[in-house]
């Protein structure tokens, strides 16, 4: 069952991408594509890219070198779109509030630069898992992208948490899915790139990655298509005249010192 080219392997590679394409189509038909254009673009191009890599893996006419070229192209497009989605979520959370939007932009950019430098440094120290530069380069790029992606998502959660800004359902769902997949992928790519794993170990990690991605697509489906329950709204309690008088007295002192 847990073998390359088994039925489960085919399902885990194809099904999440078809679900993602279906999700993009549903978002488009509901007219919500304008709300999250970067995610819709990610859903379409990432799914098509993954399916292209899948086809390249199956077709006997595709050489190993060409398979890795297709993988590189898919990886580059997917990575750029992922960062676009993170930027989109950031805008949704912080842009409505001018008091913190500029600070948020500056701090996220600064933290992003630190992450890029750190990921580049780690890539330089990584041993690489293949003599073929095309293959080890792809794996190193995966590791680099997931370090930056995980770091940015954690930073967004921390920054929003510090300011007690609640993420709307869509933003939270997107960040949750990307966060879970990025951290799971980061762990497995770190092992693949830096530890000499057996073929069996690599296959198991492949299954872990594919299963995680499937779970994340289901999370996106849930958060983007199922309407959320609204929580209880705090109503202002009855007047407290004592507190009110004290406060007004303090205000009077401030206004007329």
């Amino acid at each position: 069952m847990l073998q390359a080219h088994s039925l489960l392997w085919h399902y885990l590679w194809v099904a999440p991408n078809l679900l993602l394409l279906g999700l993009a189509l549903l978002i488009w038909r509901r007219g919500s594509a304008r709300e999250i254009p970067a995610f819709v673009a990610f859903a379409v191009f990432s799914a098509l890219g993954d399916l292209a890599v899948y086809a390249a893996d199956l077709l006997p006419s595709v050489t190993a070198a060409n398979f890795w070229r297709v993988d590189w192209a898919s990886l580059l497009i997917e990575s750029l779109l992922k960062f676009a989605v993170i930027g989109e979520v950031f805008s949704r959370v912080f842009n409505p509030y001018p008091a913190v939007s500029k600070l948020g932009r500056i701090s996220v950019s600064g933290f992003g630069v630190v992450l890029i430098l750190m990921a580049a440094l780690l890539a330089a120290f990584s041993r690489g898992d293949s003599n073929e530069r095309l293959i080890s380069g792809a794996h190193l790029l995966e590791q680099t992208v997931f370090i930056i992606e995980t770091g940015l998502i954690l930073f967004l959660f921390v920054l929003a948490g510090y300011f007690q800004l609640s993420l709307d359902r869509i933003s939270f769902g997107l960040l949750l899915g990307f966060g879970l997949s990025a951290s799971a992928y980061l762990g497995s790519w770190a092992l693949m790139t830096n530890a000499h794993l057996s073929a069996r170990g690599r296959t198991l990690l492949d299954f872990l990655n594919m299963g995680t991605y499937h779970g994340c697509v289901l999370i996106w489906l849930y958060y983007l298509l199922v309407p959320g329950k609204s929580g209880p709204k705090p109503s202002v309690p009855p007047p407290d005249n004592n507190g009110l008088e004290v406060w007004n007295r303090e205000l009077e002192r401030l206004v007329h010192p």
């Binding site: 001018p98 913190v100 998502i153 300011f163 879970l180 990025a182 762990g187 209880p232 709204k233 202002v236």
Partner: protein, 179 residues
């Protein structure tokens, strides 16, 4: 291999953090009901006195350098305590304002937006001021003014009052009264 272990540990910690955020988000919905009780009263007049530069000048003239540093450090610690409470109050007001953003009345939504913005500004300023206080604790003779924080806090009170009045005209300023 060491690098792989470090990255795997980092990935596991990230995963735990993200799952924790997901769980706490669900718990937060039920905790939002008692938000107003979390606001702690704050004596603005005492805070105003603490940050008054004239007070510092007076103390500097009257005390020896060593005594002034001691007194100044005590005053800075007291300021920090005030700012921590103000920052926490601002955080509660952000949550309170955000729940009111979903109201059907446009005036309430506008007041809530204003309150959230002011509270965010306050929280941001409080964080910066706390940073400056901690620096000033190391160099007590350096100048320090927290007046912009106070101005924001006063505006915040106005926004909270307006939101309270719009949400429930019968109970206009309870939230602001506890600030």
């Amino acid at each position: 291999m060491t690098l792989a272990i470090v990255l795997v540990v980092a990935a596991i910690l990230a995963l735990i953090f993200i799952l924790g955020v997901a769980v706490s988000r669900n718990l937060q919905i039920s905790a939002d009901a008692g938000l107003t009780e979390q606001i702690q009263p704050l004596d603005i007049e005492a805070f105003r006195n603490l940050i008054d530069p004239a007070e510092d000048h007076y103390l500097r003239r009257r005390l020896s350098a060593a005594d002034f540093r001691l007194v100044r450090r005590e005053r800075l610690r007291a300021m920090a305590a005030y700012l921590q409470v103000a920052g926490r109050n601002a955080a509660v007001l952000v949550r309170l304002g955000q729940t009111a953003l979903t109201a059907s009345d446009t005036h309430t939504v506008e007041a809530a937006r204003q309150l959230v913005n002011q509270a965010l500004l306050m929280r941001r300023n409080a964080a910066f001021a706390l940073l400056r206080i901690h620096l000033a604790l190391a160099w007590p003779n350096s100048g320090f003014a927290a007046s912009p924080i106070l101005d924001t806090y006063e505006r915040l009170n106005g926004s909270a009052m307006l939101l309270g009045r719009l949400q429930n005209p019968a109970a206009p300023v309870r939230i602001a009264a506890t600030l």
